[in-house]
């Protein structure tokens, strides 16, 4: 079986994690190569977590937060948006395809949208192919 790429997803507890649960209760089907880590707000997700995920071998990182204006803590998602763009610039400077990192807004009632997002992102990552970060960094020749 071809090694399916692995995607690490950081979901905020109030909106996107609830949306993912809703996709579950509505029995939507999506690609199983995604692994979810729950944080209280998308504002908690910073470059360190994303870089660590890639360093540990993730092929794609998905960050989801509440729609602008819906954040349970009012502004967490805006901060996440700012870090996301700077991080994309940094990683492309290091030679990694910046589309391996994706930020989307998923609300508590958007189960279907979450399922579609996962499928479409995992297809995109399959297209780009598996990430070489872990191999490159562990190579000491």
């Amino acid at each position: 079986m071809s090694k399916d790429p692995t995607i690490v997803a950081f979901l905020c507890n109030w909106c996107s994690y609830t949306g993912a649960d809703l996709a579950g209760t509505s029995r939507m089907k999506y690609n199983s190569n995604i692994r979810v880590i729950r944080v209280m707000c998308s504002g908690r997700i910073g470059p360190t977590f994303v870089l660590k995920a890639f360093r540990e071998g993730a092929d794609g990182v998905l960050i989801c937060g509440c729609h602008p204006g819906d954040c349970h803590y009012h502004e967490g998602n805006y901060k996440c948006l700012r870090r996301f763009h700077l991080l994309q610039k940094y990683v492309s400077q290091l030679g990694m395809d910046k589309d391996r990192i994706r930020l989307e807004w998923i609300s508590a009632s958007e189960g279907k949208e979450f399922a579609e997002l996962v499928n479409n992102f995992s297809n995109k990552i399959k297209e780009i192919g598996k990430s070489k970060v872990r191999k490159t960094m562990e190579e000491w020749t």
Partner: protein, 580 residues
Amino acid sequence: MEEKRIGVYVCWCGTNIAMMVDVKDVSKEMEKLPGVVLAKNYKYMCSDPGQDMIIKDIKKYNLDRIVVAACSPRIHEITFRNALENAGLNPYMLQMANISEQDSWVHTDRIEATRKAKSLVAAAIRRVIHHKPLKKRIVNVHPNTLIIGGGVAGMSAALELSEAGKKSFLIEKSDQLGGTAAKLKLSFPYLNDVVNDISNLIKRVEKSEHIQVILNAEVQEIHGFIGNFNGIVKTTDEKEYSIEFGNTIVATGLKSFDAGKLKNYGYWKYSEVITSIEFELLVKQGVVVNKKGIVPENIAIIHCAGSRNENYNNYCSRTCCMSALKYANQLRNLLPDANIFEMYADMRTFGRGCEELYTSTSRKGIMFLMFDQRAELPLIKEDERGNGVVIEFKELLSGEEIQVPADLVILMVGMEAHENAKSVSHLSGISMDSNGFFIEKHPKLDPVATTTDGVYVVGSCQAPKDIPDSVSQAKAAVARILATILRGTVEVEVTTAEINADICCGCQFCISVCPYGANSFDAANDVSVVNEVLCKGCGTCATACPSGAISTKHFTDEQILSQIEGLMAKVHELEELETN
């Protein structure tokens, strides 16, 4: 560091998980991980025997950390934390892995789903190693209650509280109490005259010394958390009240759908076409005439105006069928020999006494016609054969394309969210679904509470409902509030931020980041400090802190990084297993 003793429990959840995830294989695999003392699986972990098993194991094997792989932590993290507490273990030494809503229910390949479950549980195990015991914070509860919305739900809640001797602030946007209920003449299903019932209710609210009614007022801001809220209310004549309260009840109700949007009904074009709200006014004055002032001979009542249709509102507004029957009865009394037509999609008369009203109304010579409210709506146009209009549509029960003459058409407009619903949800820190209704914590576990402690949603603002159901919900919220007031204190979430003074250099990056102003600069010690009372634990400042001095309890960098490591390590291990 003393050695960690972890217990892992994988739940079948009946067949919900077991049908797609090989739970036995997962629990066997987890035994190999470092720190894991035992790994078991059981049919219903959240049940009595399930929780007992955890409690007994903790005592028997003196476990100090528990991982439960089951459904979403949003549903049962509290349940298992209580189980840990009963076993004498700090409730925060628990980590859950969501292998049902986010694994077995959403994948189709059993091998893949089981492999995913293994990496999720391995990640949870690596994370729980870094969990630290946390003590729940107890805060006092202010006995007053803020009630937003002076409709029948808000008033019932205020009255129930005042009869228990508790004070409440009743804030009403318009200039009078009563909301939609005040506009009614009769109620369904027993067609009792409610005018004086509602006015008595309003009088009792105005008379009660425990209820401070503030009309023409809107809440500008709310700060604080359960038990310790404070807010500012501003009235249209610029008066300002700053109030303190322990709980909030949102009872803002709904407004009626704007009939003008329904092109086919020509609400603005024809004076014969009125909405149910306008009909209530007419019938209250006891004279039923259309806008031309003519007493109608043919009256058509059209259900589902703006409801159950993709182009307008997709949901059912629940109370219009019964109101329509009520109107048919009122019309029959006022105009004994008028022809009354009632056009419905599904006759939804489900409540107590409602089917009986439907039966008795059918005996009153009312022609019930069925139309498909999801297809093209019936068309209203001029009646060539005389004054008044004609409604043309396909009647489903006979399959005939028919024409109904009418010189009065009553549109049973559905309900929808107020324009300012979004700002109310912001204000009180609750969330709204795609239809604009406020989201309850759990439709069955907790139908009136919200994910924000101390804030309750009652009445139609949570979803369209009739008066008795709204009153039930209002009193249900009061039950929970009375319980917290009587106990005097309430436990508050404790995953707030904390600043390590040895590392913090006072660079003040974190001050402006916090929307709640929980971080402040202590000039004396040249460090920033967190006000645990205001902090809600979102963690944005922890990620913004350049020196890593700030971390949020239970979501520290170390915990999340180790969760990532555990996750990916298991993925690679299984991949190697796969290839060779």
